[in-house]
């Protein structure tokens, strides 16, 4: 690779929107599992904190299905705090005063990294469905290119929840020597039939919208907002637990004393879902939704290792902390236990905590004191093992 052109670091024209951008030249394409090729490959990412002289304090955070690189800064489109604001920042478990934290938008995404809404250099139009179908492993390959570009050999930790957790598992399997510690959170070693079923409902909702136009909507200057909103509404239900829905909304009516005997949003839950759907279409590309859901569906780590999940982790020295939430029915504790059993069978160093929470799958994104304490303890012990200064020593400086 001595003659390879260097990757070009740019600030995007709307740099506040996408953060940092790196473009890999045409001689460094991303070859996908499906036999496709993404070139030039663009990756949009954010960093927080400073890389130390030994380059040993880098943490990669992997975002979930509809997340993005804005883990801990105000989101440029929504104006809201980053998706992991509760976990990332000065003095927080992913302490930006101690660690160099990287978070990149996944391949197939829509916030600066190459995806179906990027311009296909061959046509001058958006890729649309011409973008190759990508897998979790493709996402991780692209991340590895970014980590190379940043001059980091071994990541101190790779962490993420949901689809981000799948990337964590894939990182540990694909690049065991590059992952010192790993936190797969609220995730699964493969997508279940039910998981695929929910995703298919979402995709069909998008594709049933007349404005989808066979995936070429950007060429026509329209967007399948109604379909994407319905997809989000259905998916959002799977992120919450039944008790939490009941507690928050019950059968409460929305700004009215009695039912209207119409199909207006009489119930608060209807109003809430409609709002979630509409807010989502403002920040997410419909085709990207097809691609990222497909990537999850294809995920089956054991299948890549002769059907044995333990084989995927064999011989690795990575320290693991697997976390599940007891009210998460999308990626339930049983899925995390399957990961733990495989790690045990492969002799890996593993901790496993099931956090008591009624917040469902989304629990990993909100303030859960036990989850925060677990993460803090795990990272502290890993930092000691890695020879990084303790939290108290960093503070004293």
């Amino acid at each position: 690779m001595a003659n390879a052109l260097p990757a070009i670091e740019t600030l995007s024209s709307s740099d506040a929107l996408n953060g940092r951008i790196v473009e890999f030249p045409v001689d460094r394409p991303l070859i996908t599992d499906g036999g496709g090729c993404v070139t030039p490959l663009t990756i949009a990412y954010q960093t927080y904190g400073e890389l130390n002289a030994e380059r040993s304090n880098a943490i990669l955070l992997c975002h979930a299905l509809t997340g993005d690189q804005h883990a801990a800064n105000m989101h440029p489109l929504t104006g809201k705090p980053g998706w992991w604001d509760v976990m990332v920042g000065p003095g927080k478990p992913f302490d930006t005063e101690r660690f160099f934290i990287v978070c990149s938008n996944v391949v197939g995404g829509c916030l600066g990294t190459s995806g179906p809404s990027s311009i296909n250099p061959a046509t001058g139009q958006a890729y649309g469905l011409g973008f190759p179908v990508v897998t979790i492993r493709d996402m991780v390959r692209a991340q590895a290119m970014l980590i190379d570009h940043l001059g980091v050999d071994q990541l101190f930790c790779v962490a993420g929840g949901s689809m981000g957790g799948m990337q964590v598992l894939q990182w540990a399997a694909s690049y065991p020597e590059r992952v010192f510690s790993a936190m797969p959170i609220a995730t699964a070693p493969k997508h279940s039939s039910q998981n695929i079923a929910f995703h298919e409902v979402g995709r069909q909702a998008v594709m049933a919208d007349p404005d989808w136009r066979g995936g070429r909507y950007l060429e026509f200057g329209v967007r399948p907002e109604k379909g994407l909103a319905v997809a989000r509404m259905a998916a959002h239900i799977t992120y919450l637990s039944e008790p939490a829905l009941q507690r928050k909304f019950g059968r409460k009516l929305q700004d009215r004393a009695a039912p209207t005997f119409s199909f207006d949003a009489d119930f608060q839950i209807e109003n809430y879902l409609r709002y979630q759907g509409m807010a989502f279409v403002d920040r997410f590309d419909a085709n990207s939704y097809l691609y990222v859901t497909r990537a999850c569906d294809y995920f089956d780590l054991a299948a890549d290792y002769g059907g044995s999940l333990a084989q995927a982790f064999k011989g690795a020295k990575t320290r693991y902390c697997v976390v599940s939430f007891n009210s998460d029915w999308l990626y339930p504790t049983s899925a995390s236990r399957a990961i733990v059993h495989a790690l045990n069978a492969s002799g890996a160093s593993v901790s496993f905590v099931e956090i008591d929470s009624d917040k469902g799958h989304d629990a990993f994104l909100v303030y859960e004191p036990d989850f925060i304490a677990t993460t803090r303890g795990f990272l502290e012990a890993a930092a000691t093992a890695r020879g990084l200064p303790r939290a108290s020593e960093t503070r004293a400086k």
Binding site: A345, A373, G377, E380
Partner: protein
Amino acid sequence: MNAPSFPRSGQSRPVRLDLAAVAAMVAPGSRVLDVGCGDGALLQLLAETKSVDGRGVELSQRGVNDCVAKGLSVIQGDADTDLADYPTDGFDYVILSQTLQATHHPRQVLVDMLRIGRRAIVSFPNFGHWKVRLSLLAKGRMPQTTTLAHAWYETPNIHLCTIRDFVDLVEELGAHIERGVALDHSGAPIRVNAPWWVWNLLGAQAIFLLERDAPKKISPSTAKNT
């Protein structure tokens, strides 16, 4: 005395006598699985004094969180259901401290322990202790002692046994006792050389180091049919 607000592991902390007795049975540098590891006190002791590569299984979330926060590799799990998933010969020692009597299937738990590790260390309260016997005999009530402190209706100890019961079971399981020690109510070893029945009277608790029997040699002709 000023207690530090963030106690560091292993500093000026009195070592529980029963844990020290368990630790004394573990060879340095070995791989250890502590089943029912609680807040990780034994794993920490073993890591500090014997440089073991230790893992734990603990039922309570609080216990697991405490352990992970201390940097120990601990899994939330249940001895009754989760040991089956551990690979054979994955560890040198499998330890079960003061937990056997609280499991639903103590026999199966022991079988799994001796499969996962060639050696197992088991400690349990001795229901054959003279105070227990006297209490039942004289008062006609379920015994409550320092070691067995719960009332009958709320005790987690659902499968109590005596030292003698335990010794018999070990024989049945194709294992033998390498070392054994009886402890008094404070957890201090009883330093007498005595037959089992004496220990069974005087020991409030007992700790046994078990070792799987070597597989019996079978002739090739027999092996073919198995």
